[in-house]
């Protein structure tokens, strides 16, 4: 086990590369003779292409090809009509209607690629793309979930969204009841880096890909299946990714198309989509409507909760997420029922977005908890404490660790919760109404399978390798700390190599699971190296012969006896004496069966202070405190950054983010960063982050649980609750824009 002391904050190991422009993202790589792709998108949301004129584009200067459904080169693995599946390649059809890029004249969603233009420069490709002319036979598109909620269907698969504990309608007979509807609009990941691919066929059946992917192994596998070539012949590189937030969790059809066209044309091809295509070609958080019914007794004990959610998906693929899951296990409530439905619309398919369904569900559940606390005239924290559970009521088993009470307490102190008045609308400073709100977040703490290789060289340097990519959380820094903690090699002698399929296989970066999964493999490989050193030192003829492993300590390249520091040997001498230039260990790591005995979750609590201007309806988040209960914090500095990032994302989700469709045309009207408002500097105050930082004794040898998702999950609810506390008005439709506030206040 790692020593039970808090880890020091260290600078990000890739910091220098990132501040000097030296970090290379996929589009930064240079391959001689590269040509450029530009996608032409459909201007209707449903129908068929009646005519497509590509002659002018074809004849434009520098154009190497214009590819449409009429001349798209084959993708051998796509012979069968296939639906696609999140987080993986090429599965079986799920619905009657399926989508294959540039495979037919049928239009299934607005912006669907109808042509890919290839030219020798980006400017020429862009110009030629403007010359592609299409006419359409248009059909009425169904894009408005609100109009089609009744058409919700239960998704196929194990959980199907339905869950019942106790009686489904027990809330009805409770002394205090609540029924409320909550809406989350379409939100778009919008990482700063545009999506795309740089693809190069280095031989007839060998492929080099620079990708914007959260998992190089997943991209490799998807391409292997699409082109029916062995994965080992496909090299995928994605050391740096300019943000993903979930949009890089799958290989998107246009990536596969570019690879196919590159093979046809015989040149390396680069695709960088434009910002408006980020709204239609790489997924989004689905529009979701939710209803919560809740019943409690006068003492503030929950009697029943029913949570129903209906979300949009594409006509051609069923996307699902865990929107209602938090309700099943968060509170000690004897009667809980959940229901999850999807509606197939003429829209492009969603994909998980940071804190995926849980962030959507937490907004509803934690808003409802606040509403019920108000009905009960209870402090919202007190209400949660009265329904606190130390064991998971969904699975009837203990949590691997849960320090949520401490999180409530420390967060409340930090925000100044005592200043909050339980009676809403009762604090005013000048023109502004002041309110405080809080909310809980939770997300599974996973322990996936991963592998890592660690090499200790006789010169004392250490190299850590894993295929995992680093989309921004600081994976390289965390892995460095984990290796450092086991082998005590100075930080500046540790090098981490990642984001490449030539390295040991690792899962896709997502689900807040990487420190737990890859970190464990690094831990195991380092531990194995440490054992090898101890064996060399204590074997017959060794410098510390006869000593036991637990008598020894390893620090700064010296192995010594704990109680007799003078008895020691330098690791470099030990390796040289044994003719070892390197000790090289690769470990696969996954959790043991004992993990099944526990429910493993990370928890967060978000506190905010808001100011609401009753004359303009403007809401400003003026203070934010986020508390993470996610086990041992491996890298405090990057962990704190993840938490403040969740706050910024949460402010956007709560106050500004909404992709708006004009349903007459089924098209977005604000598909750019000027009109789709993500939080900017001026929206985000100074933020306090608090780490409970207590190791989880079960999940992995570091005791670390994930935090990428919990940083966001729940935050929007805290803002909505604070707006209520400030104004006495409850807004259940995100985002909380001034018009909604004004409507309530006048």
């Amino acid at each position: 086990m790692t020593k039970d002391t808090k880890n020091p904050p260290i600078d990000r190991v890739d910091g220098r590369l990132k501040v000097t422009g030296g970090a290379n993202y996929f589009a930064d790589f240079e391959i001689p003779n590269t040509a450029y792709c530009v996608i032409v998108g459909s201007k209707i949301a449903k129908g068929t292409i009646a005519s497509l004129d590509t002659k002018k584009a074809q004849n434009a200067p520098g154009v190497l090809g214009v590819f449409t459904h009429q001349n798209m080169p084959p993708i051998p693995g796509w012979d069968a009509p296939v639906g696609g599946e999140a987080d993986g390649p090429a599965p079986k059809p799920k619905t009657e209607e399926t989508y294959r890029i540039l495979s037919s004249s049928k239009i299934l969603f607005d912006g669907q690629p109808i042509a890919i233009v290839v030219a020798d420069t980006y400017e020429r490709a862009t110009y030629a793309a403007s010359l592609v002319k299409a006419t359409y036979s248009k059909q009425t598109a169904r894009t408005d979930l609100q109009k089609h909620v009744a058409e919700g269907i239960a998704p196929k698969g194990a959980d199907g969204g339905n869950y019942l504990r106790g009686k489904p309608d027990a809330y009805q007979a409770a002394p205090v009841t609540l029924e409320a509807n909550y809406t989350i609009p379409i939100e778009v990941h919008n990482p700063m880096e545009l999506h795309g691919i740089l693809a190069h066929w280095t031989g007839p059946n060998t492929l080099m890909i620079y990708a914007k992917t959260q998992g190089v192994n997943a991209t490799q596998q998807a391409m292997a299946e699409a082109f029916k070539i062995a994965p080992k012949n496909i090299h995928v590189h994605a050391e740096f990714m300019g943000g993903g937030f979930g949009m890089g969790l799958r290989t998107w059809p246009q990536e596969t198309a570019v690879v196919a066209i590159a093979r046809k044309i015989g040149r390396p091809l680069k695709l960088v989509v434009n910002r408006s295509q980020m709204f239609t070609l790489v997924g989004h958080r689905p529009y979701t409507v939710q209803t919560i019914n809740m019943g409690a007794d006068q003492d503030g004990k929950l009697i029943g909760i029913a949570h129903a959610a209906t979300a949009e998906t594409a006509s051609y693929e069923d996307f699902t997420e865990a929107t209602v899951n938090m309700t099943k296990f968060m509170y000690a409530c004897p009667n809980v029922s959940t229901r999850y439905r999807i509606v197939r619309l003429d829209r492009s398919v969603p994909i998980w977005m940071r804190g995926p369904g849980e962030a959507t569900g937490a907004f509803a559940l934690e808003s409802a908890m606040d509403e019920m606390a108000h009905k009960l005239k209870l402090d919202p924290i007190e209400f949660r404490l009265r329904n606190y559970t130390e064991t998971d009521p969904e699975h009837n088993r203990p949590y691997s660790s849960k320090n949520l009470k401490e999180a409530y307490q420390r967060g409340a102190e930090a925000i100044g919760w005592s200043k909050r008045k339980n009676e809403p609308g009762s604090t005013r400073e000048g023109d502004w109404l002041i309110g405080y709100g809080m909310s809980t977040g939770t997300f599974n703490a996973f322990r996936w399978e991963a592998s890592a290789r660690v090499l200790l060289k006789a010169d004392g340097s250490l190299t850590v390798q894993s295929a995992v990519t680093d989309i921004g959380p600081g994976t390289g820094t965390a892995l460095t700390m984990i290796a450092h903690n086991v082998l005590n090699v100075p930080l500046n002698r540790i090098k981490v190599e990642y984001g490449d399929t030539s390295l040991p296989k690792a899962p896709t970066q997502g689900g807040s699971a990487i420190v737990s999964a890859v970190g464990s493999a690094v831990f195991d490989a380092c531990t194995s190296i440490k054992q090898a050193l101890i064996e060399l030192a204590t074997k017959n003829g060794g410098p510390l012969v006869g000593r036991q492993a637990d008598e020894l300590t390893l620090a700064d390249g010296i192995l010594s006896i704990l109680t007799e520091p003078k008895k020691k040997v330098a690791v470099s001498d030990l390796m040289q004496a044994n003719n070892l230039a390197v000790i090289d260990r690769t470990k696969e790591s996954k959790g043991g069966p004992q993990l099944q005995n526990y429910s493993m979750y990370s928890f967060s609590v978000h506190f905010v202070q808001v100011r609401v201007n009753p004359l303009t309806g403007v809401v400003r988040v003026t203070k934010a405190v986020s508390v993470a209960d996610s086990g041992r914090i491996v890298s405090p500095k990057t962990a704190a950054s993840q938490m403040i990032g969740g706050v910024a994302g949460g402010i956007g989700m709560a106050l500004t983010e909404e992709a708006v469709i004009d349903h007459r045309f089924g098209r977005f009207v604000n598909n750019n960063l000027a009109d789709y408002h993500v939080a900017v500097h001026a929206d985000v105050p100074a933020i306090e982050t608090i780490m409970i930082d207590k190791p989880d004794p079960i999940i992995n040898p570091m005791g670390a649980k994930g935090m990428g998702e919990i940083a966001l999950i729940g935050f929007a609810g805290a803002v909505a609750n604070a707006v209520f506390n400030a104004t006495g008005q409850r807004i259940r439709d995100l985002p909380i824009t001034p018009d909604k506030v004004m409507q309530k206040l006048t």
Binding site: A23, P191, L194, G243, V647, V680, V684
Partner: protein, 214 residues
């Protein structure tokens, strides 16, 4: 045109880059927009070479201290020139519409969105990108702002970082970094989707308070 004539604000005299560009491009447009000429070129299969010849225009400018004599298409943006032709990929493309700030560079000391700047308009200008802010590189000296970003962890994925840093340096030079509130206002053109804002503001205030020359 002598060197000293190319300097200045560059936008309001007869020899300004913009005027020169407009003159050149008007002549080009008159020629290129004659449909029969264009189509004849295409039909004769000469379009590649001819297009290349007519699309290329001379451009003189200084990038990161190095004088450059270039020949470019007039529709190339400064951003794409830097990235696709000069291998200066530290400057990033986030939106291509001047909405995100990822492409921020300095032109004659002013921060600009290089995606909204046609390269031809920088004739005679001095351009500084993230690669030219300091000696940099794997081991070189960092600019105080780069140091501060590392110290305060003013980034996560790192994609917006070059733009944030270029903007941050300009923010201080402009005198718009007197309080955290002012910094937030004057840095709001640079979006960070990872949400490192609080740390970025701390980094800028560190540099401002440290008093180092930026």
């Amino acid at each position: 045109m002598a060197d000293n004539e190319r300097k200045g604000n560059g936008f309001d005299n007869d020899n300004s880059p913009r005027r020169i560009f407009l003159k050149k491009s008007s002549a080009l447009a008159a020629w290129a927009l004659t449909p029969t000429v264009a189509m004849t070129v295409v039909d004769n299969g000469l379009h590649e070479k001819v297009a290349l010849a007519v699309e290329q225009m001379p451009l003189w400018l200084t990038i990161n201290g190095k004088a450059q004599q270039l020949s470019i298409e007039p529709r190339v943006t400064l951003l794409d020139l830097l990235r696709e032709q000069l291998h200066l990929t530290g400057t990033k493309k986030g939106c291509d519409h001047g909405q995100c700030g990822a492409c921020t560079v300095h032109v004659d000391g002013q921060r600009v969105n290089s995606c909204l700047t046609l390269a031809m308009t920088t004739e005679g200008c001095t351009v500084t990108t993230i690669e030219g802010l300091a000696d940099g590189g794997p081991t070189g000296t960092l600019h105080p702002m780069q140091e501060a970003f590392i110290k305060q962890d003013g980034f996560q994925c790192g994609y917006c970082t070059p733009g944030q840093i270029m903007s941050a340096v300009a923010c201080i030079r402009e005198g718009h970094a007197n309080t955290p509130e002012e910094v937030r206002e004057y840095m709001s053109g640079n979006i960070c989707r990872c949400g490192a804002y609080a740390n970025i503001v701390d980094a800028i205030m560190d540099v401002k308070k440290g008093g180092a020359k930026v």
